[in-house]
């Protein structure tokens, strides 16, 4: 009936008229008899193309893993329930993300939606699910930008959406602690653009920096792409900045980092969220990427294992490297664990035909995934959960150009520290 193989494929009009009708029949008329044997439809929204596309590099690998591990069937209370995943591309565009989420809900009548990678994806998708009463699980967007970009009220939260990732507080805590491991004048230069993350940082961090004794030099919210960062660099020089705390994607960071060198601006430690987490984005810098610091949301050294494949974090990373020929990167753990969370929830749901029942199951998640323990009742906000977040520094690698070493475990004490942060050398 609705069992059309469409993972990744795009649907034509006739196609979805057909399945639409079939799904209607399945949910409406045939309820008592067929309800338990129908296929569960899982919508998935990812930025597969556009500037955020590198966030999606693990999607195909993880989908194949799931297919191999489950055969497309979940074993729920002894019954075999088939599921299918309908993957849609947000094109790195929030409007498009909203559009495809609405198409998944209204035309495909999915039972739940998962999405990941930056507020530009998770926020519009979550909002669309909240609006339509569809269970939604997201990750890979720091919790504050996710929550506040949606206009969330910390006392109320949202009814239909759950989200897990590191929080800005964790990230800032571990980064500032790493900054503290080196000798500096504690003057931080901000590169916070006019987008979801940048605005959230600008709102949340100044008091935090102040309370920890760090000074702040903030040139203001700028629109990207920016053709030159010369003005910011000259302000940082005038303010004698020694530490950089930014959240800009790779093309922007390249422009900034080269202009900084030209202007003889030589900070002692540099963090640029959206860039420093990804070895592929750092490789073009060659040796100049060695020494950059990053928060670490997941790494092969994390002492956790998958509830689906049983692999440890290390084994998951190794399999990815063997299959893809590319170096592991942090999103891999989250792409994998989101399936752990939803499969676990689906198995615990009382009534798979009732969205509220599925949602209730997600709300009461208590599962130790490959990314760490996930329980959406722990906060910081309603229906969110923070995952263990360490701090690390990139060093010259053996197998690949860069390796990540763990330098701080303030909010992930189970992860072992490998060495101290070294100041950048010029």
């Amino acid at each position: 009936m609705t069992n059309t193989p469409l993972t990744g494929g795009r649907f034509d009009r006739r196609g979805f008229l057909k399945t639409g009708a079939a799904a209607l029949a399945a949910t409406g008329l045939a309820r008592p008899a067929l309800a338990q044997s129908r296929t569960i439809k899982i919508g998935m929204v990812m930025p597969q193309t556009g500037p955020l596309a590198f966030f999606s590099e693990h999607v195909e690998f993880v989908l194949n893993q799931m297919q191999k591990a489950t055969g497309g069937v979940l074993n729920i209370d002894g019954r075999q329930i088939a599921y299918e995943i309908l993957l849609r591309d947000s094109q790195s565009n929030p409007n498009r993300a909203s559009e495809v989420a609405s198409e998944l809900i209204l035309d495909q009548e999915v039972d739940l939606i998962i999405a990941a990678a930056t507020p530009e994806t998770t926020v519009p998708v979550s909002d669309m699910c909240e609006l339509n009463g569809i269970p939604c699980v997201t990750n890979d967007t720091p919790i504050e930008p996710y929550f506040f970009a949606r206009g969330g009220d910390p006392d109320v939260g949202f009814e239909w959406t759950n989200h897990y990732f590191f929080s800005g507080q964790q990230s800032a805590g571990t980064l500032l602690k790493m900054f503290g491991q080196i000798e500096s004048n504690k003057m931080v230069g901000a590169l916070w653009p006019n987008d979801g993350d940048g605005n959230a940082f600008a709102e949340a961090y100044p008091p935090l920096f102040d309370s920890l004794g760090y000074g702040l030099s903030d040139p203001g919210r700028f629109d990207m792409p920016l053709s030159s960062y010369a003005a910011a660099v000259s302000q940082f020089k005038a303010d004698e900045v020694e530490l950089i705390y930014g959240v800009i994607p790779p093309p922007e960071f390249t422009t900034f980092w080269n202009e900084a060198a030209q202007q003889k601006f030589q900070p002692k430690a540099v963090y640029a969220g959206k860039t420093v987490q990804f070895p592929a984005a750092l490789e073009p810098f060659g040796a100049r990427a060695e020494g950059l610091v990053t928060e670490v949301w997941w790494a092969p050294v994390y002492p956790y294992a998958s509830t689906i494949t049983g692999q440890t974090a290390k084994e998951l990373a190794d399999e990815y490297e063997a299959v893809s020929g590319r170096q592991w990167s942090m999103p891999l753990g989250f792409r994998h664990s989101i399936f752990e969370v939803i499969f676990d929830g689906l198995k615990r749901a009382q009534d798979l035909d009732d969205p509220a029942s599925i949602q209730e199951a997600f709300n009461t998640t208590d599962l130790t995934t490959v990314c760490g323990p996930i329980d959406f009742r722990t906060g910081p906000f309603p229906n969110t959960c923070t995952t263990p977040t360490a701090g690390g520094q990139w060093v010259k690698g053996e197998k690949y150009p860069l390796d990540l070493v763990i330098c701080d475990n303030l909010t992930a004490p189970e992860v072992e520290i490998e060495r101290q942060v070294q100041p950048l050398t010029y």
Partner: protein
């Protein structure tokens, strides 16, 4: 000092904008085509540059002549194989064709190279700078970009106003039908013109690829500033394009000095003000 630094950074940035705009200006000036795909052609050549340098394992400078040859060939093929068949009596048709070309190129690049940001490397030269005045550092590579922009504009200007081919080019651009009546082979002229356009595009592409990362989606963002530079300078004027680029560059840098959020906005505002005051640009082409 701060002001001198701001302005010199702005002027150098303007050189980059002018370089992006040069090919666009030529295509519009000669063929009356608004080439929406211009930014994507720059990105395509950046990828060609990447492929050639990686395949041969040589530096960009060594590979540049080969890349220029490929670019010229591509220009000839584009004109001979595509734009020659596009009717130009209605400016909307070539515009739509270029728009389609832009989408096709972006997606082909995405299929072929993936979305990872790429970069060409010139080693330490990228970060090198000279201290012109105390505390005034100018990037060597920015100077090279500006120098090449000036040299290329000068060269094109000489070609257009001092050579037989330039005369033919101007004749065709003024009135295609009359030029054909006088015995000029307009098709051959257009093909040659597109080859020259692609040579300028190749230079812009290589410099862009060394200056920063690029990915298949980078093209469109280069297009807007290029358009503004051309319109400020006056359609068809090469030096005007440089002036336009420099004005936007300085406006952006001065804007950023006030607040980072003003950088991009200031460039656009100056464009709007100048469009209002001088609708035909600073150096309009003489109608005589």
């Amino acid at each position: 000092m701060e002001l001198v630094n701001t302005i010199s950074q702005g002027v150098l940035l303007g050189g980059l904008f002018a370089l992006y705009a040069l090919g666009l200006s030529l295509v519009f000036g000669v063929m009356r085509i608004v080439n929406i795909a211009h930014g994507d052609l720059i990105v395509v050549l950046a990828y060609i540059g990447l492929t050639v340098t990686e395949f041969l394992g040589v530096s960009v400078i060594v590979a540049a002549p080969l890349i220029l040859v490929v670019a010229g060939g591509l220009g000839w093929v584009l004109q001979r194989g595509l734009f020659e068949f596009v009717p130009r009596h209605d400016p909307l048709i070539p515009l739509l064709v270029a728009f389609g070309l832009s989408i096709i190129l972006q997606n082909l690049l995405l299929m072929g190279y993936g979305a990872d940001p790429q970069k060409l490397s010139l080693g330490r030269l990228e970060q090198a700078s000279v201290e012109i005045l105390p505390n005034l550092h100018i990037g060597v590579f920015s100077l090279i970009i500006f120098g090449l922009a000036v040299a290329m504009i000068g060269g094109l200007q000489l070609m257009i106003y001092r050579t037989g081919f330039g005369r033919a080019l101007r004749a065709v651009s003024d009135n295609e039908a009359n030029a054909a009546m006088l015995g000029l082979d307009t098709r051959a002229i257009f093909r040659k013109a597109f080859v020259i356009v692609m040579l300028t595009v190749a230079v812009a592409a290589l410099l862009m690829a060394i200056r920063g990362n690029f990915d298949p989606a980078s093209g469109s963002t280069r297009l807007l500033t290029a358009f503004e530079a051309i319109v400020i300078g006056g359609l068809g004027s090469m030096w005007g394009t440089l002036a336009g680029g420099v004005i936007i560059g300085i406006a952006q840098m001065v804007g950023a000095q006030i607040d980072a959020s003003w950088q991009v906005l200031a460039g656009h505002l100056v464009f709007l003000v100048l469009l209002f005051l001088r609708p035909s640009g600073l150096f309009p082409k003489n109608d005589g």
